[in-house]
């Protein structure tokens, strides 16, 4: 499908914000305590990112005046649910992030809010990912891998952001722990992405004109598409096949920026010294990679309607021959 800026921003920033929020929660509850001021700043940052993401979602709505109806279909629509969960997340996060301006810090509301924000972040990320994973027509997305990948990438991007924030503060123990956690997370991300790219490749071949037209006799070739090129303006679910070199190049960029570089940063950070600038670079690299990864997620996704727009890849049959079956022909003749 055609990648659009609002969609890139919403999904990437929501993941980033959620990741940061959860990393803060982790520090508050699981990890060695970090500096409150850093966590509070991180919360503000997370909130700001969530707000930017939320604003960009308005640009994806072409008729915001109908936005008031958006919660009507909670029962069936993951988008309706996304609006709800993301909205709740942003509200809670807003309270927790902005609350310290008027309320005492470290009191019960702060901890409860933090827990709720974390749960809401997970819920929002899950719901957003499910929105994409539950569309059977998007062959590349219709898989649990979509949820895994989106959440892993989102959480990791938040983790790397947190690492960068902490890296500046020289909290060696926290950095160390988080770095080890991020090492594992990055390996998971790498694994999930590889699996997902395999799924994308399979998806490009998973449908063909046999069921798309009822013609059993392959190979298929498009004569024309109705207009002389696919209607990319009016049908945003289709998008030209990416050139092999572009796809490969972008995938290499993703591997480099989301896996290799961050891993290098982590290895360099594990001794806990002098990591400040490196962790920032790591976070920026991972975030950049996330945008590329997300662009590929949209731009390289195969929609089932592609069957009618693009020639089918020619995959020779190992058993078919050009010769008609004499027995079969004979039967037809004598019918």
């Amino acid at each position: 499908m055609r990648p659009t800026t609002p969609l890139l921003l919403i999904t990437v920033l929501q993941g980033l914000s959620g990741g940061i929020t959860l990393a803060i929660a982790a520090f508050s509850f699981l990890l060695p305590p970090a500096s409150d001021s850093i966590l509070r700043n991180a919360l503000l940052l997370s909130f700001a990112i969530a707000v930017i993401g939320g604003i960009s979602s308005f640009f994806h709505m072409h008729r915001p005046q109908a936005g008031k109806y958006i919660l009507r279909r909670l029962k069936t629509s993951w988008l309706s649910r996304e609006a709800l969960t993301t909205g709740i997340y942003a509200m809670i996060l807003g309270v927790v992030a902005l609350g310290p301006l008027v309320l005492p810090v470290n009191s019960w509301w702060y901890w409860v809010g933090g827990v709720l924000a974390s749960i809401a972040a997970l819920a929002a990320m899950f719901v957003t990912a499910m929105l994409y994973a539950t569309i059977p027509a998007m062959r590349s997305w219709h898989s649990p891998l979509t949820v895994l990948s989106m959440m892993a990438v989102g959480l990791s991007s938040g983790g790397y952001a947190m690492l960068a924030l902490l890296g500046e503060s020289h909290l060696a123990a926290a950095v160390h722990r988080l770095a080890i956690f991020m090492l594992l997370a990055t390996i998971v991300v790498a694994g999930v992405k590889l699996l997902q790219w395999k799924l994308f490749r399979d998806a490009r071949r998973s449908l063909n004109a046999a069921t798309g037209t009822g013609m059993p006799r392959a190979p298929y070739r498009i004569i024309d598409t109705g207009t002389t090129r696919p209607p990319y303006h009016t049908q945003t679910q289709v998008w030209p096949d990416l050139p092999v070199s572009l796809r490969g190049g972008l995938e290499a960029v993703v591997v480099l920026t989301m896996v290799l570089l961050p891993l290098g940063v982590i290895v360099a950070t594990l001794d806990g010294t002098g990591a400040g600038l490196l962790t920032v670079l790591g976070a920026i690299s991972f975030l950049f990679g996330t945008f590329v990864e997300r662009w590929l997620f949209f731009g390289d996704a195969t929609h089932s309607s592609k069957v009618w727009f693009v020639d089918q890849e020619k995959v020779g049959s190992r058993v078919a021959t050009n010769r008609p079956s004499p027995a079969l022909v004979h039967r037809f003749r004598n019918m």
Partner: protein, 220 residues
Amino acid sequence: MQLTIITDLNKCVGCKSCQVSCKEHNTAGAFGPVPDNDPYRDPDGMWWNRIVGMETGEYPNAGVLYLPKACMHCYDAPCVPVCPTGASYKRQDNGVVLVDYDSCIGCQLCMWACPYGVREFDEEHGVVKKCTMCIDRLEDESLPDYERQPACVQSCPTHARTFGDLDDPESKVSQLVAQRQGFGLLPELGARPAVHYLPRRPAPVVIDEKDVLRVMEERY
């Protein structure tokens, strides 16, 4: 009741009469306009019904197939549940899938959810538009009977298209689907399309191969 259009692929010559008559009626109809971008430059307009042309097989056994493709008005229309506002809906009384432009936010999720690529986005109006089965003709009691059917069915020069109620086993469409092995597209995606196609039905050679071989052997 589930209204549907059946296309006999044994008769479709790919003339695109239905594609144009659809636009002709609907652009000025109740669900219009059906706009065109850059109409006199590099055009990229909206069509609710597009004809796909497909070559199959290899020379000299090459086949050519034309497939009119519009909204399938699916029993389990995937475009309906994904819509957050309920703008995309399926009529209970006749099964027609429609879009309520007033509550459409233009998110295009329904376009991704539709397996068939038959929903089209109007960037100017910010809404998704699609085949309405010419519901404004069907329900306009002021029209003569022959116009109270979808424009594409009325115009089809080979009478390849038939309109009717698929839930009524006595209807012509039901009988055609039953007798001619009508099929829906991409059944593996589970949308259960109401729109069906009738397969090719080649007429066989009218003489026996044995006779040809005998004559060939004896004389040619």
